[in-house]
C-alpha cells in the first residue's frame, strides 16, 4: 500500500490519519532490514530520536541523511574511520530545520569517505550497490542517499554536492537530485570538503518533494557567513505555475556522451519544445577548464579542512585516513605551499572568476543550460580506482556550475540499452531554484520520467 508513495503523498496519508508516523517508520525499517545488507545504504539507523507524532510540516516523515551531516546524538562518520566513534553534540542546520518541522531522520547514508569520490567506493565502510544492478556503483559521493530513494528505503534523502555529488548519483540511480545555489542551503554542521563549493540538497522521487524539502532547508543561517540573506520562495507553489522558458544549448556540454545518453537528451529537448520552451544555441567556456580549476581549489580546501583530524581528538589517528584522503591532502598541501600558491590556487581562483562571468553572460539570454550530469550511465564497481582523477573527469559537466555556484537539477529521462537510468540536468541562474524546479516539474508532468522511477522501485517489492 505504501510502496513508492512520495513524501507529499505520505504526508497526506498521515494527515488523513490513514497511517501513523510510527507505522511509516516501521514500514521503512522493515524494508531497510530486508534490503540494506545487499545494498549497503545505511551506516547508522536513528535509534535515538522518537518519531514525532505532533503536527508540523513534516509530521514524522522519514528522511535519510547523508552521513556528512552532523546529527545530534546520532553517530556521524562521513564514511571515514577517523570519525568511527564520533557522536556529534549538535545538529547541522539542515537536520535541525527538518527536525523542527518534525521530520524523522531515519538513518545516515553511506558516501565516499569525506565525500572524496563519485562512486561511494572510497567509503571506509564498503561501497553502496546500485539498486538497478548490484555489480554497479550508485555514483557518489551521495550514492547512499540516491540508492536509498531509488530502492525506496526512504521516501526522500538529503545529500550534498561539491561538484556533482547529488546530480551524478541521482542520474545513475534514476531519481531527482537538486543542487541548490551555493549559499542557498546552509553548510553549518556539514563536514566540510570543499568549503567554497559544498551545497546540501535533496534527492527525491519527484520534483514536488524536492521543492518541499528545499522550502524547509533553504534560507539564511546565522551560523554560516556564506549563507545567503536573500529571501526564499514558496517553491511548492512556484513549480505549479506554467512558465515559458528558454533553454540554452552549448555544444561543449554534448561532447563525448555515450550514444544512449545523447539520444535520450535529444529526445528530452524535443519534450521541452513540445511544452513550449524555446531553445537557443550558446557558447560557454569549455567544461575542460573547470576540471583543473576545480581540482586545485577543492584539494586545497580539503587539505585545510582535514587538518583538524590530528589524532588528538575523535579517537583515531591519521593512519586511519584512506588512500584517497591522503592523496588529496598531499596535492592540496602542495598547491598551497609557499612559492606555489600564486601558480596554482590564485590562478585557479582567477579562472573561476571567468567561469562565473561566463555563466552570468549566458543567463542574460537563456534561463537554463541543458546537459547531463554524467556522460555515461552507471559504471561497474571497481572501474573508478583504475584511473586517477576519474571522478573529476566523470563530473566535468557539473564542475563549471559548481565552481560558479549556480543551481542544477538532475532528472531521469530514460534507460540505456543495459536498462540503466540516464539523467538530464538543467542548470539555472543564481537563486533561480524555483525556475529550475518549475521546468523539471513541467517535464515530469509531461513524461512521468518515462516510468523510470517507478521501474526502479518495483524491483524492490515489500
Amino acid at each position: 500500500m505504501l510502496l513508492g508513495k512520495t513524501l507529499t503523498q505520505l504526508k497526506e496519508l498521515i494527515k488523513k490519519r490513514e497511517i501513523t508516523p510510527v507505522e511509516v517508520k516501521e514500514y521503512f525499517l522493515k524494508r531497510i532490514n530486508k534490503f540494506n545488507s545487499s545494498l549497503n545504504v545505511f551506516l547508522t539507523l536513528n535509534d535515538v530520536d522518537e518519531v514525532p507524532e505532533s503536527r508540523g510540516a513534516f509530521v514524522g516523515l522519514p528522511i535519510a541523511v547523508k552521513d556528512n551531516h552532523c546529527t545530534k546524538g546520532v553517530r556521524t562518520t562521513a564514511s571515514a574511520k577517523v570519525l568511527d566513534n564520533f557522536i556529534p553534540p549538535y545538529d547541522s542546520t539542515v537536520t535541525k530545520r527538518l527536525k523542527y518541522e518534525n521530520a524523522f531522520l531515519i538513518g545516515k547514508t553511506n558516501m565516499d569517505a569525506w565525500a572524496h569520490g563519485s562512486s561511494t567506493e572510497t567509503s571506509d565502510y564498503g561501497a553502496t550497490k546500485n539498486p538497478w544492478d548490484l555489480t554497479r556503483s550508485p555514483g557518489g559521493s551521495s550514492g547512499g542517499s540516491s540508492a536509498a530513494v531509488s530502492a525506496y528505503l526512504a521516501p526522500a534523502a538529503i545529500g550534498s554536492e561539491t561538484a556533482g555529488s547529488i546530480r551524478q548519483p541521482a542520474s545513475w540511480t534514476g531519481v531527482v537530485g537538486l543542487k541548490p545555489t551555493y549559499g542557498r542551503v546552509p553548510r553549518y554542521g556539514v563536514i566540510a570538503m570543499g568549503s567554497s563549493l559544498d551545497c546540501p540538497g535533496p534527492l527525491t522521487l519527484n520534483v514536488e518533494d524536492a521543492a518541499y524539502i528545499l522550502s524547509v532547508i533553504a534560507g539564511h543561517d546565522i551560523h554560516d557567513a556564506t549563507s545567503s540573506p536573500l529571501p526564499t520562495e514558496d517553491y511548492v507553489t512556484e513549480i505549479k505555475k506554467k512558465k515559458p522558458f528558454t533553454i540554452g544549448i552549448s555544444d561543449d556540454y554534448f561532447e563525448g556522451l555515450d550514444k544512449d545518453v545523447a539520444t535520450a537528451l535529444e529526445k528530452s529537448i524535443e519534450v521541452f519544445k513540445k511544452l513550449g520552451f524555446k531553445t537557443k544555441k550558446i557558447k560557454l567556456l569549455s567544461p575542460n577548464y573547470a576540471i583543473s580549476v576545480y581540482t586545485i581549489i577543492q584539494r586545497a580546501e580539503v587539505s585545510s579542512n582535514l587538518a583538524r583530524y590530528d589524532g588528538i581528538r575523535y579517537g583515531k589517528d591519521r593512519t586511519f585516513f584512506g588512500d584517497e584522503a591522503k592523496r588529496r591532502i598531499m596535492l592540496g598541501t602542495y598547491t598551497l605551499s609557499y612559492g606555489y600558491y600564486d601558480a596554482f590556487y590564485k590562478k585557479a581562483q582567477k579562472v573561476r572568476t571567468l567561469i562565473i562571468q561566463d555563466f552570468k553572460r549566458a543567463f542574460q539570454d537563456v534561463d537554463f543550460v541543458i546537459g547531463t550530469p554524467t556522460p555515461i550511465t552507471a559504471l561497474k564497481l571497481g572501474e573508478f580506482s583504475k584511473y586517477p582523477f576519474f571522478g573529476e573527469l566523470m563530473d566535468k559537466f557539473n564542475e563549471p556550475g559548481s565552481m560558479a555556484g549556480i543551481p542544477g537539477i538532475s532528472i531521469p529521462i530514460g534507460l540505456d540499452s543495459n536498462g540503466l537510468p540516464i539523467g538530464m540536468q538543467l542548470m539555472g541562474n543564481y537563486f533561480r531554484e524555483s525556475d529550475v524546479l518549475n521546468a523539471a516539474y513541467q517535464f515530469e508532468q509531461e513524461t512521468d520520467y518515462f516510468g523510470v522511477i517507478k521501474k526502479g522501485i518495483e524491483r524492490y517489492k515489500d
Binding site: 556528512n68 551531516h69 556529534p88 553534540p89 549538535y90 557567513a225 587539505s303 587538518a307 609557499y338 600558491y341
Partner: protein, 470 residues
Amino acid sequence: MKQYKPVIGLEIHVELKTESGMFCQCKINQFTSLPNSHVCPVCLGLPGALPVPNKKAIEWTIKIAQALNCTINKHTKFDRKHYSYPDLPKGYQISQYDEPIAINGHLDFEANYGTNKNESKSFRIHRVHLEEDTGKLIHKGDDTLIDFNRSGTPLVEIVTEPDFSSSTDVKMFLEELHTIIRYLDVSDADMEKGTMRMEPNISVRVTSNDQISNSKQEPISKFQLPNYKVEVKNINSFNFVKRAIDYEVKRHIELLEQGKTPPQETRGWDSDHNKTYSQRTKEAAHDYRYFPDPDIPPFEFSDEYIESIRKTLVELPHTKMYRYIEILKLKPMDAYILTRDKNTTKKFEIAISNNLITKNNISPQTVANIFINKIGKQLPSKTDKAIVEEIFSLHKLKQDLSNFLNPEEVCEKVIQNNPNVVSDYKNGKQNAIMFLVGQVMREMKGKADASVVIAKLKSQISKIHLKSQN
C-alpha cells in the same frame, strides 16, 4: 671603529574583551570557569562547524588602529594559517595575511614629560590585524591537558616597524600602548592573565663609529636590517621585556665580536634566572600555507563605517594630558601622572566640575594634588560623591588650618627662631627678609598674602631694634 646598534621590533597581542568569541557565540570567560566549560562546536573546531566573524571585534580592532594613526584597509579578509599544535583545534588559525584590517600607523608620545629629560618619541606601526586565540595547554606530570575556554577569543596583533634601538624606548612605548588600549576600553590588557602578550624581535647591527653621529633615532630606510633576528616569546611584563632585550643585545654583541652571526631562532624568557633560552630554530622554514578562509566572505568597509567608528574614539591620554596642562593649568608632571589611568581621569573630571568644588573655588591643581597624594591609591573603592566630599574636607581643613593661625603670631615665632637672619637684615642685608617670608609662608601652608607678611615682619623687627637700643 666598530659600533653595535640594537634593532628591535615588537609584536603585541591583545585579547579583546568582547562578550562573545571571535567566530562563535561562546561567552568569553576563561579565567573564572572550569576548563572546557565555555566551548561550542565552533571554538572546538568540531567537524562541520563554521566561523561567523564578530562585528564588535572588527570594530574594536579598527578603533585600536585609529588610535595608532593607521590607515584602515577598506578591503580586508580572513585567512587560514596552518600549523599543527594540540591547542589549535582546527589545524589552522583564522588570522589575516596580506590584507590586514590596518597598516602604516605611528604612536607618538612624550618621554619623561615634565622633566628635563623630556623627549618626543615616534614609532611606526607596521600593521594591526585580528585573529582568534588558541586553547591553553596545561602540563600536569606526564600528562598534557587542553583547555579550550580561551580558544576563539578575539586577539588583536599589533606589529611595529623595527624602529627601536633601546630597551628603555621599548618599555616606554609598551607602557604608552597599554595606557591607550585601556583607554579604549576594548581589553583588560592584563599581563598577569596573558590578555596582553609581548614578543620583541631583536637583532644587532654593526656600524662604523662615524655613521652614528648622535644618539638620535635613524630612519629605518637609512640602513640595512641585519640578516637574522631573534624572537623572544610570551613575555608578561614590561620590565621582563626590557631585561630580555638587554640580555639578548649583550649576547648578540658577544657573538658578533667573535665574528659569528647569532642564529635566527625563537627564544623563551626565564624570569627566575633573568635570561632567555632557545626554543626552536629555523623559523624562516615555516610554511603556514595561508589562503583566504572560504568560510568567511571578504569585507568591504565604507568610508561612513570607518568614520562612524572614529567618532567613538575617546580622548586619548596624550591629548588629555595637553588639555590638562593648557586648559586646567596643571603642572605637566601632575597632568602626566593623572592621565596614566582612564578611571582616574574620569573621577578627576567629575570632581573638578562638581558644584561643591567649583563654588568653593578649589582649583583643578588643588584637586590634582589631593588626587595624586591622597586618593589615587584607593580610587576603585570610592564613589564619586565620596571623592568630592573628601577633597572638600581636605581642602577645608587646610583652609581652617591657615585661618586658625594668626599671621602676627607666626611672624613672631619665625623671628624668634631665626635671630641670625634677623641680625643680618638689621645689618643691611635687605634680602634676608625674604628668607623669613618664606618661613612664614611655609608655616601657613601658603595661605597668606606675601606683602602683608613682609609688612608685619618689618614692623616687628623694627620693634626689636628699638628694644635693644633702649
